[in-house]
């Protein structure tokens, strides 16, 4: 639990300077970029988990992350194409990417149960943080109805992942 709190604190610390710039003020296309970035970060970490972990729970979770985040990204790209719009890079996407690099470096240096615990804790903290931003700052401020609907569908999925990550944290606890 201590390391889980540390993990949540690390994610929060990564985002806190960015959050000071108010995610709620981002445009729809900037929010779409954040969501796409967050999806891709989780996909990268899932690939890492599949490369390193032998734990069936961890592998099943990582497969689900690949499957679900890919589905969301495909839907997001299809919607952007329909709207004739492109996602726009912004401070929050950059903060997420910077934080992800540090965590991926750390995860890549771990093996066995140590990797499994750290991956599980990070997935829980990551989904908690991103879900908070999407639910509190993004969805109430999205202007386009179709973009908003997609974010709502996405949040439903990511909340399910948060619950699944909690189960995984318990399963890999020492």
């Amino acid at each position: 639990m201590k390391s889980l709190l540390l993990s949540a604190a690390m994610v929060a610390a990564t985002l806190s300077p960015a959050l000071a710039q108010d995610p709620a003020a981002l445009s729809d296309l900037e929010m779409a970029h954040v969501a796409y970035t967050a999806d891709n970060i989780d996909i990268r970490q899932a690939h890492l988990a599949l490369a390193i972990s032998d734990n069936p729970e961890v592998r099943a979770f990582a497969e689900t992350m690949l499957r679900d985040h890919t589905a969301v990204n495909e839907q997001a790209l299809a919607l952007l194409q329909k709207l004739g719009a492109a996602p726009e890079d912004n401070f929050l996407s950059q903060a997420l990417n910077a934080g992800a690099e540090a965590i991926i470096d750390e995860l890549a240096s771990l093996r066995g149960a140590e990797f499994d615990r750290r991956y599980a804790e990070n997935e829980l903290a990551y989904h908690q943080t991103v879900n908070g931003v999407v639910g509190d700052a993004f969805i109430p401020n999205i202007e386009n109805a179709e973009v908003k609907a997609l974010f709502e569908a996405g949040l439903e999925i990511f909340k399910a992942h948060e619950g699944h990550a909690e189960m995984m944290v318990k399963a890999v606890a020492p």
């Binding site: 099943a60 689900t64 589905a71 969301v72 439903e156 999925i157 399910a160 619950g163 189960m167």
Partner: protein, 125 residues
């Protein structure tokens, strides 16, 4: 309007086919399978997978009935028996799968990808 038995049968099959073609989520198509002794009405039970839930979460069935799972979510799902004895396999959004209820059918099932999603099939419909 009076219907002969043949007419009734044709009507039931026609309704079932129409429901199938329309892809109605709430279709409960009755198919009559008479085997000389006792005619059972085999039902199709629709289970929607929506908002990370099996809806309805519990379905009462009889052997020979069909469970028709339809994924209405963006995320891929499955309906997989708790003991692994039956499985729809991966269902992308908008896809459906039919599972026939057989003797000794395992009632408890989950989504293999999101194991907190649980459903139940009970007997005695």
């Amino acid at each position: 309007m009076r219907l002969t038995r043949r007419g009734t049968l044709r009507g039931a099959v026609g309704a079932a086919l129409a429901a199938l073609m329309a892809g109605r989520a709430d279709a409960h198509a009755g198919l009559i399978h008479g085997h000389g002794q006792k005619a059972h009405r085999h039902l199709v039970h629709d289970v929607d997978i929506r908002a990370f839930r099996f809806q309805p979460a519990r379905v009462a069935v009889r052997v020979g009935d069909t469970l028709r799972f339809a994924n209405r979510d963006l995320a891929p799902h499955s309906a997989t028996a708790g003991d692994g004895s039956w499985d729809t396999g991966l269902l992308n959004r908008g896809e459906t799968a039919d599972i026939e209820v057989t003797e000794g059918f395992a009632g408890a099932y989950i989504c293999a990808f999101h194991p907190h999603m649980k459903g139940e099939v009970g007997f005695g419909a």
